[in-house]
Chain length 216, copies 2
Amino acid sequence: MSALDEPAAPPGRYRKGVAKREAILEAALPVFGKVGFHGASLREIARSCGVSHQSLMHYFPTKDELLMAVLRRRDERLRQHFDDEGGMRLAELVALAEYNVDVPAVISLFITASAEATSSDHPAHDYYADHYDRIIASTSAYLAVAEARGWLRDGFTAESAARVVLAVQDGLQLQWLYRRDEVQVAELLRLVIGAVVTVPTEQLDAAVREQVAAAR
Amino acid sequence: MSALDEPAAPPGRYRKGVAKREAILEAALPVFGKVGFHGASLREIARSCGVSHQSLMHYFPTKDELLMAVLRRRDERLRQHFDDEGGMRLAELVALAEYNVDVPAVISLFITASAEATSSDHPAHDYYADHYDRIIASTSAYLAVAEARGWLRDGFTAESAARVVLAVQDGLQLQWLYRRDEVQVAELLRLVIGAVVTVPTEQLDAAVREQVAAAR
DNA sequence: GTCTATAGTTAGATAGAC
DNA sequence: GTCTATCTAACTATAGAC
């Protein structure tokens, strides 16, 4: 199967099945996050939500599909903003970082999966390659307005600024997983944005809105 | 075994044994990097360097110890600078990033292992937690001079600047693994440093040297 | 080479929800 | 009555360790 396709119409047509499918996804998230794709076992995931191993396989025929389903559901929040007019606002990344702090398992999953999936054999490789491309493209589109107006610090382009901000988010979340009390992800993310973009974000937001309106 | 201890006196006392140990370490690096600790198998590593499975286990009694040996050898370059007088210069991080581009397997190993090891059960957890602490401490010591002289951009402390630079390095290396042609790790790292530290690095280096000399 | 444990996956039969 | 959900059982491969 291509990693970019939606899964084939799964079981879960009965009320009970829908709930169980949900429970499996919730249970799989922290396991994949903790030990990664290769380290996770379907039997362990099944056990952790009180479902039989075979029942799990009824809903997710292969381990690959289970992982993809978990990832897709968790990246949903970010993906919603990929097609925002004028590109994805940096504030969305900050807001996500702020939200994620309350859901350590999600951060763990994201960091572990994106690192594992750099290998081209990994079931989520194509998914993540595409995911990163889209984040960069969307954020670059947003920052293009800043670049055009000379609001980026010397040397930065819209794309390099986008890559840096995304890198800081990922890197800080990694550090946060080691020292949760000492790393303020969202706060540092804001500081970096302030160091790269030379005007307040409100001003940039306004300029982007203006640009979008003018383009109609 | 504590992850921070040196391994107990290993085999490899004979000339042939030394070479074989070396070959195993070289072979294990890309495998751990590609599929992670859990995904890697000792048999595969042994096969990839023409050594029998049993022979491998003679040199590295457990999988944990093999991983630790690989990590320790590869982080050596960075660890050398932890105790630099005046703290580790940011230029060392940039130089390392520049060097690593020629050794993708090392980047892959580092990213994958540091992500996997966020789990407290992971054999390299304590090692990496300590490793990050030291990098931050050492780089913060270096940047303390900049902070004292008002050479950091508003809002940054020595530690937050250190965390940001390290985060950018990790995050960009992750992006680089997905798009090797499009991400210039060292170049972007320099840009970020330029955005956070308001004076040229030569000036900061000189100030740090001066500080060290004065402290004697 | 062997041992024991566990992995992902498959098949088939039964019981339950619609 | 039909489709879904669940369970029992087994298979094949491979893991780390001795």
